[in-house]
């Protein structure tokens, strides 16, 4: 069923007509985000130019009960910006102004389409920066970061997006505009800002964000260390943390990931070593220096085969370029791959990695590992060739790895979100009561179920009820969800 032409003209009333994309070819370019496995063509794509237009467009959606999906740069890896059939995509790509940088209060006010790295670029003349740094920071937008509560290599020390957002101006699903949070971060009453952060676009669209800026650390020390085994590298991570050191970042890559990254950006990684760690410390010079010596000693204790210390900002940038390009670079060593995102308790890292290697061997499938070792956020990359018919085996392995994370007391997702991809796995982590509460919160914001519907919480339609005989889903029976 196509969208009512009256709705389209309603959008054309509140936006410039040329900012309402109805061309079927243009709309198809919005079918998917960074997760290409799921595709839905939207009826229209709206490209508002300011917050008022976003609110007006959402109001039209509310009036006509048209489902909408907000989209930033479309880099998400869980299908959170997957369009809805018979719905519209609201792109925030044109809301990209840095509205204010306030160096005295150390905060910046930005529009949602500003990229993560652009905030730091705007703040850096004042000796300030924006701390959360997802690997896609040069392209992902702050609006998307707020939706996903994004992390990054440095969230080990500095926390996730939620720790760096004071307030967000939000267009609620009925088109009204509210500000959640305050400019100081102190707030009486329930923390609605906290509810909104990480809600994956299901509670509204943020149109203005006030973020916290930090002082650029006095000094940064970065080292790249090679190890004879993944286990040895994992033990180093545990030892660093138990020594009371809080590194800014601890990242691990294994042989395959190193090979791919090195091929992509020539960052000076040693091709062929079983594991490499990137450890970064930052802070006051004296503290940094003394802890850096400790870290070096720990590396050596665990048989590190090469220790490369970044001697210049360029060398440091090269090390990070290698790490941050690793995901996409894996495309160079394998025709197809799955990106997994799970969390395990840090202390069990080495154990889990051995198990993953074992599972991979049993399945005859290669697994590359790139991850935030410091906080146990794993990103195993399951490499396979669809042409060679390995898809099913790879999918199974990827699922086993995720289950392994839950089995070890971890989580389904570290930072990529639940989105479309993992909605059906939510009952593995949460009880029916948990999910019922989440649904009630969502209903309070979005009574008509038009705001990114079908994401995060499992629905029978999404979660593969077999066609044929009707069997009520347990969540349906308990009144948590309804069949659409």
């Amino acid at each position: 069923m196509a969208l009512d032409p009256a709705v389209r003209s309603a959008f054309e009333q509140v936006l410039e007509p040329r900012d309402v994309i109805s061309d079927p070819v243009g709309c198809r370019a919005y079918e998917c985000d960074g997760l290409t496995g799921y595709r839905v063509t939207p009826e229209l794509v709206l490209l508002p130019r300011d917050a008022a237009q976003v609110a007006a467009a959402v109001a039209v959606c509310a009036e006509h009960r048209v489902p909408f999906v907000a989209r930033g740069a479309g880099t998400g890896l869980s299908g959170g910006a997957l369009p809805v059939a018979e719905g519209v995509v609201i792109s925030l790509a044109r809301l990209k102004r840095v509205l204010e940088v306030d160096p005295v209060n150390r905060r910046a006010v930005v529009e949602p389409g500003v990229t993560n790295l652009e905030i730091t670029a705007a703040a850096s003349p004042h000796g300030l920066y924006y701390a959360p740094d997802p690997s896609s920071q040069q392209v992902c937008t702050i609006g998307g970061n707020v939706a996903e509560n994004s992390g990054g290599a440095h969230c080990l020390k500095y926390g996730f997006t939620t720790n760096h957002v004071y307030s967000a101006e939000v267009v609620l699903p009925d088109g009204s505009v509210v500000t959640l949070g305050t400019d100081t971060g102190e707030q009486a009453g329930p923390d609605l800002r906290g509810v909104f952060l990480g809600s994956e676009g299901t509670l509204g669209i943020t149109t203005k964000i006030t973020v916290k800026l930090l002082r650029t650390p006095e000094t940064v020390r970065t080292l790249l260390a090679d190890f004879p085994s993944v286990r040895a590298a994992g033990d180093v991570v545990s030892d660093i943390v138990s020594a009371g050191i809080v590194p800014a970042a601890v990242e691990m890559m294994d042989t395959l990931a190193i090979e791919a990254a090195e091929e992509a950006v020539h960052a000076g990684y040693t091709v062929g070593v079983p594991a490499a760690l990137v450890v970064e410390l930052d802070g006051p010079v004296e503290e940094c220096d003394s802890q850096f010596e400790q870290v070096k000693a720990i590396c050596e204790k665990h048989g590190c085969t090469r220790l490369h210390i970044a001697g210049s900002p360029e060398e440091r940038a090269a090390i990070w370029r290698g790490r941050k390009a690793a995901f996409a670079a894996v495309g160079r060593i394998s025709p197809d791959y799955f990106v997994q995102d799970g969390v395990v308790p840090r202390t069990r890292l080495a154990e889990v990695l051995d198990r993953i290697a074992e599972l991979g061997r049993d399945a005859g499938i290669r697994v590359a590992n790139v991850f935030h070792a410091g906080d146990g956020n794993l990103h195993p990359l399951v490499l396979y060739s669809a042409a060679l018919g390995e898809t099913e085996r790879a999918e199974k392995l990827s699922g086993e790895i995720a289950e392994l994370c839950v089995e070890f007391g971890g989580s389904l997702s570290g930072e990529h979100g639940i989105g479309t991809d993992k909605a059906c796995s939510m009952p593995k982590m949460f009880t029916e009561d948990d999910l019922a509460v989440m649904q009630r919160v969502r209903d309070a914001f979005d009574g008509h179920n038009i705001c990114n519907p079908g994401k995060v919480l499992p629905t029978p339609r999404l979660c593969g009820e077999r066609p044929g005989k009707y069997e009520p889903h347990p969540l349906e029976e308990s009144g948590v969800i309804e069949r659409l």
Partner: protein, 444 residues
């Protein structure tokens, strides 16, 4: 539970015959290399301008994929979004997966030229451009003071267009500065011997636009190469290398030009075929790929391409030989897209400039972003090109340079148009030439 990224079955199955014809359609493996990560978005000029997915590299590849599966036609929307691409290849630099967007675009553009009937005025305008630019004699006549408009009007296609397309014609006119009679008709010597002991022997592509509008750059190039110990040959019978046509998808005439250039240069006993134009260098380095499946030309083209080098690559080879005199001033270097992104020549021009004593070299903000020149782009899409040109000019002003240098005539014309006359715009070899000769830095 799993995230397929770039997996084959996650892409659509072939549902209908491809919308591309059989002659070099975009290769399936190259299309499948794109994992849709979006790292290309920030450096894409059209995405920066419009924020629309279908005018981004990732979006364009997505549409190519749909067309190759017969899901969309080449006419209409697809063609518009491919036309809108500047071909700057910043996305190739940005891509972590090594997607060869350059090869994809290079195969898609001729498909459009062959299979899509353009709007009549668009077609006429494009025909007019290609009836003028690759021809030195016509360009010379057009470039004489006051002669351009008059001359253009004698081209029947343009006469019809004059009223229809005031924006495009104005853009074309404002980009082509009048040159002096002396410069327009000056010729480079066929042979210039190395100064002192000979280090090598090179042949120079004098170019079409370059030789008419920037003859002084060619002269400086010959002097600098000779001063650094190279014999310089400039074959008389050379013509346009075909870059403008190649990058616009006019494959057949571009290949003819390529064959002629190969014929002219291949018999010369030289170490390198040198060009001082980013766009020409990039296309001449592609000849080998272009003729790969033509048995009569494959080897000859590959041998030709293997010898092609940008002038900065030659100059940065080995230690400087001629004495450099100090040039005091702040010099901003602009990476021409076809040098930086397409040929990955970034360090060498900077090294050449750093060999000049007292020269302070600065980089521009948003250095990876195209200035909007992009071959014929600033003539066929003057609005978008104008926005990019203004943005580049603002970035230039922000570093407050005394001189700006770049190695492509298109960029020089485009940036000059938006920057005004107060900051001299030069080719890097002009600065080096002034330094070696110990003369004042020229104003143009």
């Amino acid at each position: 539970m799993t995230t397929p990224a770039g997996s084959a079955e996650s892409k659509l199955p072939q549902t209908a015959p491809s919308s591309f014809d059989d002659h070099h359609p975009p290769e399936r493996e190259l299309l499948d290399d794109c994992v849709h990560c979006g790292f290309c978005l920030p450096t894409c000029p059209t995405y920066q301008l419009w924020g629309e997915e279908m005018d981004s590299p990732r979006g364009r590849i997505y549409l190519m994929d749909l067309a190759s599966k017969g899901e969309i036609t080449l006419e209409g929307s697809f063609q518009e979004h491919m036309d809108a691409c500047l071909g700057c290849m910043a996305c190739v630099t940005a891509c972590p997966s090594g997607v060869q967007y350059d090869k994809l675009l290079e195969s898609v553009r001729p498909q459009i030229e062959r299979n899509v009937e353009r709007d009549r005025s668009d077609q006429l305008f494009r025909d007019a451009i290609f009836a003028l630019f690759p021809y030195k004699r016509r360009l010379r006549a057009a470039a004489l003071p006051g002669a351009l408009y008059q001359k253009l009007r004698t081209v029947p296609a343009i006469r019809k267009l004059a009223e229809k397309l005031p924006g495009r014609l104005a853009a074309m006119e404002s980009l082509l500065p009048p040159v002096s009679v002396r410069e327009a008709f000056a010729r480079l010597p066929v042979f210039t011997p190395a100064v002192g002991s000979r280090r090598g022997r090179v042949a120079l592509l004098s170019g079409c636009v370059q030789d008419v509008f920037f003859h002084r750059v060619n002269e400086a190039t010959v002097r600098v190469l000779a001063a650094e110990g190279y014999d310089v040959l400039v074959p008389r019978d050379q013509q346009c290398c075909g870059a403008l046509e190649l990058h616009a998808g006019r494959e057949a005439p571009a290949l003819e030009r390529a064959k002629r250039e190969i014929g002219v240069f291949e018999t010369l006993d030289v170490d390198s075929i040198v060009t001082n134009v980013a766009g020409c260098g990039s296309s001449m380095k592609e000849y080998g790929h272009l003729f790969a499946d033509d048995p009569a030309w494959a080897d000859r083209a590959a041998a030709f391409s293997a010898r092609v080098r940008d002038v900065h690559e030659v100059l940065a080879d080995g230690e400087p030989r001629a004495e450099r005199h100090p040039v005091r001033g702040r010099v901003a270097y602009h990476d021409a897209c076809h040098l930086g992104h397409a040929q990955k020549v970034r360090a060498q021009p900077r090294a050449v400039l750093r060999s000049i004593p007292d020269l302070e070299l600065v980089d521009l903000p948003e250095t990876e972003l195209c200035c909007g020149s992009a071959g014929i782009y600033n003539m066929i899409a003057p609005e978008a090109a104008g926005e990019l040109g203004a943005r580049k000019a603002a970035n230039v002003r922000s570093v407050n340079p005394d001189v700006i240098v770049t190695a492509n005539p298109g960029c020089l014309l485009q940036i000059g148009k938006h920057l005004g006359a107060d900051i001299p715009l030069l080719h890097p070899v002009q600065l080096l030439d002034a330094s070696i000769r110990g003369v004042a830095v020229p104003r143009t």
